[in-house]
Every structure is written in structure tokens, then in C-alpha cells.
Amino acid sequence: MSLPTSPYCTIGPFFPGEFAAGCGDLTAFDGKQARGQHILLAGRVFEEGKRPIINAIVEIWQPDAGGVFRHPLDPRSEDADPGFFGWGRARTDAEGRYSFRTVMPGAYTADDGALRCPHINLMLLAIGLTRRLVTTVFFTDGLNLVDTPESAVDPLLECVADPTRRARMFAIREKVSNGAAALPSYRFDIVTRGEAETPFFLD
């Protein structure tokens, strides 16, 4: 006997900007710098017709550079980086742009022996979406575990059979580093509908 879940509803247009302020930088926590390679993860969010989605909320959740989640369910949580919280939020601007400063997530081996490639969980909330959209961001050069999207072995990537669609779950390393940040930059554009649509998971 279980209770019926509450209905999800759209975030609407008026989510307070204050709720996103300061949440885009994951590289420090509790007065400590996060371990590992700091990176810039940035991109644009589009709807059908490649029109930018402004005022959307992007949230991410990821393990630290050692592949550990700051959560009691992770058997290695006592080794979690004390300078890394793992959660962030950003709001898209007038061109649909969002950005995070975070760390390159570590790979880890799950209890069942499955290898999880470096990845970041990402969810999107916006007007017109009555529920969140969820996907996972991968990296082709994360700890050199993955050379190409085709070679990646990961239980979530394996769910996306079409290699063209699978490639859209990979952040692209930008050749020109953002001058101000001087961090390795990765671009991850999100297309909710239309040409080059991002794969989203049943949620």
C-alpha cells in the first residue's frame, strides 16, 4: 500500500533570481577549495526551431573528483571531498546561456561492478514543461577512460542505442579556453525539441 505521489507542475516564469544567485560555482564549499581539475561547463538551452529558452533553471548533481558522492548512500562517502558539495543551479540568460564552474567528476565502480564513466546529472525546469527534463552529461577525455562516444561503456550510455543521439550526451571540449576563467571549458548545449534533440530519460 503506497500513497500516490504529489503532481509535479511547471516552475513558471517567476522563479526568484535570488534562488540561483551564487549557485553556479561548485569549486569551493565550507571555506575549502574542491580537489581535482576545475572546469567550466557551459552551454545554451534551445527549444524547437533552435530558439533559445530564456529564464530556464538548470540543476546539476555529480560526484567529486575522486568519484565519491557527498551522500550517506555512497559507501565511500566518508572519503568525500570536504571542499565539494556536488549540487549547483544556474538560470539561462537572454540568449539561453547557462554556466557552471565545477570539477571534472571522477569515474567509479558501482557495487554491482559496473563502471560509471565521469558524468554529471543534469535537470531542466522551464515554462511549458510540466515536469523536469533529465539527462546525463559525459566527457570524452574524462580521466582518459573514454576516447569516443562509441567506445564509452556506461550503463546509462548503453540505453541510448543510436550513436548520433548518444554523441549529444557528451560535453565538447572547447579549443579556446575562456580567458577570464582560464579553466578547461566544456560546452554542453541542450536542445529540448527539434533537430539535434538531446536524449532525455524517462523520469
Partner: protein
């Protein structure tokens, strides 16, 4: 354990919890007639089934270390300061999982319009006044039994700019962080008996009438509260349940 972040307090017991995809009949439809963005933003491709790994089964906990938590009183800008104009209300309830187990330590974010139907937001074009004593946003944490409470003023209705007929009925937005990425939850809750509820496109997008009621506050007897306070209640059930125990 020197220098470790504290992850003992409010430690959510999430081992063995199962998360099923949302049941469509308990949720809003994805595509809503006369709500054009639902047709330009929802994915055209089928959503992909995935296994749930540690990554999805964990999530941000103890967010009060990351986000500023406010007091329970949103009805004025400063504690003891002048109260915002409008019907003074208290909102209470519990946050639990599908087994009815309380979700303690869950951060709840609240945002709403003022009593004139105006948000403090740069994209709000409604010709209504901003109340100098009201921000309409707050952030609280659930207690040991999953309970929450905040004081505010009842929000007003407001017109949807892009529509020539649609007025949003009074409602309060909730964003709730359960203990896992799978029960991160966002919704809006309506007030009972409002004439604008009936034509509202979002409320009507829940086809199951019992499920629709779960988006509406219950009124509770006002005698239990201060006399100048109208009290509303809404419990939230976030996704997640224990595996069914094997029969002996």
C-alpha cells in the same frame, strides 16, 4: 574524520528505496492545449528508460549548508517589521515518501505573488503594485516528522501576458529537495474554492480529479490558530518506496 562535512544529521535512510517512473494519471499532461510552449519544448523523441545507479539514487542532502535558510515568516521583510498587505495566512503540512515515512531535513523553497498578483521579478509585466513589505520568497527545512510551516499573505490572481483570457488563480510555488536526485520535486499549490481554478490550464492538465485535489490546499479549522490567521494545509508525497517485503 577530521575536516569531514557532517553528513550524520538528518541522515536520510535511502538504502533499498525504489523509484518508479511517475504514473501519468497522477501528473499533469505534458502537452496542454492553448499553452503553446508545451508543444515547442517537450521532446519529440520518446523518453529513454534507464537503470538507476548510485548517481541517480543519491542527491544533495543537508542543503542548509549550501543555501541560506530563512525564518518561517514571509509576511514581512524584516522580523517584526510592517506586515505585507493581504490576507494573513499560515501554511503547514508534511513531506513524506510513498510509504508515508517522513522526509526530515528536506529544504523547501517557496515563491509567490503578492496580494495584488505581482511578483518581485524582472520579467513580471503585470500592471500591479509591488508591496514594499513583501518579497514573496522563502526557504525553510522540514522537521523530524517531515513537517513544515510558514506564514505569508494570500497571493492574488494575475493575467498571463501572452493570453487574452487566461488569469492564473492564486497559487504558491514549492521546490522541494528530497534525499535523492529522483525525488527532486517542483509544483504549485492552489487555494480551494477559487473561481479561477476551474478554467486554469495547468490545474486542468491533471485529468484524475483525486490527483487534482492534491494540488489544492486544505483549509484547517481556524480556531487552532491565532484569530487573525487563516490556516491552510498541504502534505507532499515525494517519489520513493521500500521494496515490498517478501511474504513468509
Amino acid at each position: 574524520m577530521r575536516g569531514q562535512p557532517s553528513i550524520q544529521r538528518h541522515l536520510p535512510e535511502t538504502a533499498g528505496v525504489e523509484y518508479e517512473p511517475y504514473e501519468e494519471n497522477t501528473q499533469l499532461a505534458r502537452y496542454i492545449k492553448d499553452y503553446p510552449r508545451s508543444f515547442t519544448r517537450n521532446p519529440s523523441q520518446p523518453l529513454i528508460q534507464r537503470p538507476l545507479t548510485l548517481s541517480e539514487r543519491t542527491g544533495p542532502v543537508e542543503l542548509e549548508h549550501r543555501l541560506a535558510i530563512d525564518g518561517e515568516d514571509m509576511s514581512s521583510k524584516e522580523p517584526g517589521g510592517p506586515r505585507a498587505i493581504g490576507q494573513f495566512i499560515a501554511v503547514t503540512g508534511r513531506v513524506m515518501d510513498e510509504d508515508g515515512a517522513p522526509l526530515a531535513g528536506a529544504v523547501i523553497e517557496i515563491w509567490q505573488a503578492n496580494s495584488a498578483g505581482k511578483y518581485v521579478h524582472e520579467l513580471d509585466r503585470h500592471q500591479a503594485p509591488i508591496d514594499p513589505n513583501f518579497t514573496g520568497l522563502g526557504r525553510i527545512v522540514t522537521g523530524d516528522e517531515g513537517q513544515y510551516k510558514f506564514l505569508s499573505i494570500k497571493p492574488g490572481a494575475y493575467p498571463v501576458t501572452e493570453s487574452d483570457w487566461w488569469w492564473r488563480p492564486p497559487h504558491i510555488h514549492f521546490s522541494i529537495f528530497g534525499p535523492s536526485w529522483m525525488n527532486r520535486f517542483v509544483t504549485q499549490i492552489f487555494f480551494p474554492g477559487e473561481p479561477l481554478n476551474e478554467p486554469d490550464l495547468l490545474l486542468n492538465a491533471v485529468h484524475d480529479l483525486e490527483a487534482r485535489d492534491r494540488l489544492i490546499f486544505e483549509t484547517t479549522p481556524t480556531k487552532v490558530a491565532a484569530v487573525n490567521l487563516l490556516t491552510f494545509r498541504r502534505d507532499f508525497v515525494l517519489r520513493g518506496k521500500r521494496a515490498t517485503p517478501a511474504l513468509d
